[in-house]
Symmetry: C2
Subunit: 408 residues, 2 copies
Amino acid sequence: MSEDSVGRGTGELAARARELDAVDPLGKLRELFVLDEPGRGVYLDGNSLGALPRNVPERLQEVVAREWGQLRIRSWGESGWWTAPERIGDRIAPLVGAAPGQVVVGDSTSVNVFKAVVGAVRLAPEGRDEILVDATTFPTDGYIAASAARMTGKRIVPVEPGRVAEAVGPRTAAVLVNHVDYRSGRLHDLPGITAAVHAAGAVVVWDLCHSAGALPVGLDEHGVDLAVGCTYKYLNGGPGSPAYLYVRAEHQERFDSPLPGWTSHADPFGMTPEYAPGAGAVRGRVGTPDILSMLALEAALDVWDEEGVSPGAVRTKSLALTDFFLECVAAYVPEGRVESVTPVPHGERGSQVSLRCGDAERVMGELIGRGVVGDLRRPDVLRFGFTPLYVGFADVEFAARALAEVLG
Amino acid sequence: MSEDSVGRGTGELAARARELDAVDPLGKLRELFVLDEPGRGVYLDGNSLGALPRNVPERLQEVVAREWGQLRIRSWGESGWWTAPERIGDRIAPLVGAAPGQVVVGDSTSVNVFKAVVGAVRLAPEGRDEILVDATTFPTDGYIAASAARMTGKRIVPVEPGRVAEAVGPRTAAVLVNHVDYRSGRLHDLPGITAAVHAAGAVVVWDLCHSAGALPVGLDEHGVDLAVGCTYKYLNGGPGSPAYLYVRAEHQERFDSPLPGWTSHADPFGMTPEYAPGAGAVRGRVGTPDILSMLALEAALDVWDEEGVSPGAVRTKSLALTDFFLECVAAYVPEGRVESVTPVPHGERGSQVSLRCGDAERVMGELIGRGVVGDLRRPDVLRFGFTPLYVGFADVEFAARALAEVLG
C-alpha cells in the first residue's frame, strides 16, 4: 500500500468515521472521561484499565477529606461505608443481568474465583470429583481453580470452552469458564454452556472480566449459578479496584465460603467466637471493605445512569466499533501483515480485536509512541479494546491508520 | 466525687498534661494529621481507624489525576504500581522488626490470615493434625483459621495465649496468636510463645493488627515464622487499606500459598497455564493490587521517616499515655464505676485502655457526643486507643474528665 493509497483510504474512512460519530447516541459520554485530545492519542486498552471518569477525583477527595478526615470512624455508619459492598453490588447487578441482592463487591478477582469455585464444589452433588476449567483461561483463574481443587479433593480437567458440553458429565462438580477470552476476544456461549452444565447436574462459574460493561450478560435469565468479575476494565473503577461475586439467590443459603471473614457474619459486631453466615449477598464478603477504591468505583458507575446507557446500547456500539476497526485494518494494512484471531460473527465476539502479528512487541511499542495505546499478549498478539462509553469511530480509524503506518 | 473535686483534679492533672506535652518529642507530629481543634474533641479510636495524615489527599489526587487519568495503563511500570506491594512492604518492615524482602502488602487481614495459616500448616512437619488458635482472638482470625483447618484436614484447638506453652505439642502443626488482644489490650509474650511453639516443632503465625505501629514487634529477632497485620489502625492507611503478610526469609522458598494468583507468579506476564511461584515476598501476592488504597497507605507511612520516630519512641510515649489515662481515670472517676481490663504491667499492655463499665453503650454514646471518640466492645467494654503519633497528654486528661462527667 502506497502512501497515496493510505491517503485516499484515510479520506473515505475518516469521513465515514465522522458520520458515525455524529449519530452515535453514546458519543456524548466521552466528555465524562479524561482522555487525550482528539488526534493526540487513542486509548484502546480500556479492557485492561478503564479511563478515569471525570467525577471520580472530586468524589474521592470528599471521601478522604470529609468522610475519613472529619467523620473518621463514624463514617462506617453515617457515610454508608459498611453497606458499600452490597450497595455497589446492586449498582453492578443490572449490568450483568442480575436482580438486586445477589452481587457483592470486594477483594480481587482471584480471591473471588477462589470463593466461587470452592463454593460451587460445595453446592454440587456429593461424590463428583472433577472441576472443568476453561483451558484458554486468563491464567489466574486456572491457578486459583487448581488450588481450590487441591483443597477440596477434586481434580482439574482443562477443557476448551466450545467443548464443555461434551466434557461435562456425572463426575463433574463444577465448571469455570470465561465469558470472553482475554487473549482472542472470543465470546463464549453463556446460555448454551450453562444449560449443558446444568443438564449434567453440575454448577457453573462464569468469569465476566472481559464482558461485563461491554455487552449484556443475563446471569439471572440464563440460570447462572455463580459469577465473578473485575471492575477496572469496562467498568472504569480504577487500578486494582475491587472485584465482585454473584451468587444466585436460590444458592445463597447453601453458599459456603472458604473465606468466612467477620464482615460476612450474621452479627459482625457481636464478635462471637462461632461463625454464623449472614443472609444474602453479604455472605460473599470477607474482611474490612477497601473503602477508597470501592467508593471511587461507585462514582465511576454513575455513567450507567445517563440516559440511553445500557448493556444493550453499549453492545450495539461495541460491535459497530470492532466491525469498523476490522474494515479499516483491511483497507489500510498491507495484506498478510496481520491476521485477526477475533471471531468475525457477532455472536462470538467480545469488545476487543486481537491481531496476530510478527514482531508484535516492536509494533505495539511504536503504536504507543504514536499515541495509540493497545496492549501486547506475548508472543505475537496485538490487543485492541474498544470501550463503547468513550471510544469513538474517529479513534478507530486513527488507530488503524497508525497501525498501517507502523507496518507499512 | 463532687464537682469541686473534679475541678481541683482537673487543675493539677491538666497542668501535668501541659508539661508532658511540652516535652513530648513526638508532639510535633500532631500537625501532620487532620484532627479536631484542641478542646473540641479527642480521637481515641485510632486503633480502629487511624486519623487522616495531611499529606494523603494531595498524593491521592496525584495518583488519580496524573497516574490513572493521564498515564493510565503505563503507570503499572512508569509510576511503580506493579512493585508497590513489595515496596510498601519494605516500608512496613522496620516497623515490625523485619529486614527487607519479607513483607508484602495486599488483600484484607482476613485473606492474609488464610494465606498464613494454610501456609503454616504446609510448612509444618507432616502428620500433625492440630491448629492452636488464640481463644480470645478477634473473631475473623478464628473463623478463617477454622476454614483453613477444614480445608487442610486439621482440627482447631482454642487456647488462651498465656497457655500456649502448655498446649503446644507433637500434634501441633500451627499456632495463631494475636500480639495484642483487641478487646482487653493485653500484650502477649511474642518471644516466649514463639520459642515455645518452636520447641514443639510447630509453626507460629502472629496477628499484629493491634501492635504494629504502637510498639516494637521484633519479627526477625524473635524468629517468627509468619505474621499478618492491618494498616488502617496505628499505620493510618485509611478505611479498609490493604493488610500485609510477613513470611520469614528462610521459609519463603517453601511457602505454598492457598491463593496463588497471577501476580505471585515467577513470570506473571508470561501468562503460562502452569503456576510457578515467584521468589521472595512476591509469593504472598494474589490478584491485581488495589492501587488507590495502597498508595494512600504509602503516603501515610511518611510520618515514620520523621526525625526521632521509631517503634521504640512510640512505645515510650504510648506507655506514658496509657499510664496517664489510668491515673486521670483513678483521680476523676468515682470509685467502682469502671474497672480496667487492661493489664497494669507495661510488659503486658498494648496501646489501649479498656474499661469495663455498666451501661457501656450509653456511656460511649455520651462521650462521643462530647467529642471523645472511643469505641464499644459489647456488652460492657469501653475501649480507648492511644495513637502516640497524634494523641497528646492534654487529650488524655480531657477524655478522662469527660468520662468522669458522664459517669458522675
